[in-house]
Amino acid sequence: MYYHAKKIIILIVLHTFLFSVALSCIFPFLWTVNVSLKTQGEFDADYGLRPVTHINWNNYKTVLVKEEFWRYFLNSVFYTFITVLSIVFVSSLAAYGFSRLQFPGKHFLFYMFLTAMMIPLPAGFVPVYVLLNKLHLVNRTGYVLAMTNIGLSLSIYLLKTFFDQLPRDLEDAARIDGCSKVGIWWNVGLPLVAPALAVVVIFNALNVWNEFVLASLMFTDYTLMPLQVGLMEFSNRLVTQHTLIMAALTVAALPIILLYLRMQRQFVRGLTAGALVG
């Protein structure tokens, strides 16, 4: 009996602790959505701390249409899609080469990619920006190329280790049937590493979607800005329009949160993949 009571008390303490921390994570977002549905007048009255009584979509209309957030949003979708596509293509090709094919300097090159992951380059964006400036690539192409590189080493590593664990029977069969090397990579290799590709896609998509530094340096033109840069610029321009800023934040955060709730496992694996390599 005594033992039982002690156990229950411990559980209550643990849950109180966990739940209060969880509440601190959720509350700011509930507040954000709540404020975004109010008028500026209502916000000034209660600071958004009371639940919204009648829903007002005007903030979203202003943010998306008049402030052209639809454009920032589509830009972000575009950069993310193209970059992830190019990373998947380039890194799976390289990973297949490192895992299955023989060529001189193979081990040296692979360890070069690995070492790159370990060395922090806090000012890496400086020479990259200078280089793109010299090459007149301060545009979408330059940005996608530079972002492709950021996810490359980790993606190659993940896919290469996954390829290494796969049996070669299927590829041998394809070769005997007269399939070319590129054909084997595309038709046999890629479908087999699909689980690892999911991690690569999520990891890199989040990376590009959330990237700010390089994008803010490169895109000074409003029509090219991705969401993060547009958001920063917008909040500096309209400091006092709280309800509008909260609507903009909801537009930027909600799709990611919903996507995350749909595919938690892949998100967690994608984001911790980088850490667990070290």
């Binding site: 643990l14 849950h15 602790f17 966990l18 921390v21 969880a22 601190s24 994570c25 959720i26 700011p28 977002f29 600071y47 701390l49 293509f89 380039v90 090709l93 390289a94 080469g97 490192f98 094919l101 023989q102 060529f103 090159l109 070069m112 990619f113 790159a116 922090p120 380059l121 806090p122 000012a123 890496g124 400086v126 020479p127 200078v130 400036n133 190329l145 590189n149 490359l152 190659i156 989040l206 959330n210 700010f212 530094v213 993060q228 958001l231 920063m232 909040s235 800023i245 934040l249 930027a252 955060a253 990611i256 949160i257 995350y260 709730l261 938690q264 984001l271 911790t272 850490a275 667990l276």
Partner: protein, 298 residues
């Protein structure tokens, strides 16, 4: 097996696209950082060689040292408050059975969101506009904690509040890694220890901690690397607060914006060397600890 030249070329072409992008955006920038740090370059006129001029300017710049101090201050809070909180949460979630999934999902929301979103969101909550009237203070008054109200992003608190917001964004990530580590410890070890009469603290001290040592080291190193290079969240939250929350990467970024690429590279090089030195030292210390306590590295 001897390969023909044609076959070698075909095989090599698989890694060629990766190698091309990597050379252009990693190898070249890596060495170019060293070259640029000896030059004065405004990206319009041709670069001029200034020897160690940039480095002596960086060494003599008190605002660079204060930026390093601010970064170190935030890192200190991330190492202590953030990681201890994450560890406690991981231990607690490992113990409870109900709602475990809920906690895991909720704690990981913050790490997946961008630094800009978190920074702007917390700014909206904390900024006083007009003075003394901000959302967080109104909330405190609402729940009866009115006397705690402060100007959170003012001169006297901005640095600490920035550090705490950084911890708030980052703890979920450390939590997930530590929890994965905890759950990989086989239950039999604890059972055996209990049979031998070990209490909860002894089990933690003699089983959990030694086995988790590599994971803890990893979290510590990644926290240091990540926090010393944090930037976008702080830019969104405070924008620097009169130098009090200026962090190293913010200095580098501003120098590049001000067309002082050489200076930015010198600063980046210095920070990079510090970070490499710290992470090597940490892994070395961890290895020594593991050897001393006889826990074999995995």
């Amino acid at each position: 097996m001897k390969l023909s030249l044609a076959e070698k070329t075909t095989n090599f072409s698989f890694v060629l696209p990766a190698l091309f992008i990597f050379s252009m955006f990693w190898i070249y920038p890596f060495f170019y950082t060293f070259i640029l740090s000896f030059q004065e370059y405004d990206m319009i006129s041709p670069p001029a060689f200034v020897g160690l001029g940039n480095f002596s300017e960086v060494f003599g710049d008190p605002s660079w040292w204060s930026a390093l101090y601010n970064g170190g201050f935030i890192t200190f809070w991330a190492l202590t408050f953030q990681n201890i909180l994450a560890f406690m949460l991981a231990l607690a979630v490992d113990k409870v059975i109900r709602m475990r999934k809920f906690y895991r999902v909720v704690f990981f929301i913050l790490p997946i969101l961008s630094e800009v979103i978190i920074g702007l969101l917390m700014k909206q909550l904390l900024i006083s506009n007009p003075p003394g009237r901000d959302v967080f203070n109104e909330f405190l008054k609402l729940v009866g904690l009115g006397p705690l109200a402060h100007e959170w992003l003012g001169i006297d608190r901005a640095r600490l509040v920035t550090a705490l917001v950084h911890c708030w964004k980052g703890f979920g990530w450390a939590f997930v890694i530590l929890l994965a580590g905890l759950q990989s410890i086989p239950e039999q070890l604890y059972e055996a220890a209990r049979i031998d009469g070990a209490n909860a603290w002894q089990q933690f001290r003699k089983i959990t901690l030694p086995i988790l040592m590599p994971v803890i080291t990893l979290v510590i190193v990644l926290t240091i690397l990540g926090t010393m290079q944090a930037f976008a969240m702080i830019l969104a939250l405070t924008g620097g607060t009169a130098g009090l929350t200026v962090v190293p990467v913010m200095k580098i970024y501003n120098h590049l914006r001000g067309n002082q690429a050489g200076l930015a590279c010198a600063e980046g090089l210095m920070l990079g060397i510090i970070l490499v030195a710290i992470s090597f030292t940490m892994f070395f210390i961890s290895k020594k600890i593991r050897e001393k306590y006889g826990v074999l590295p995995r």
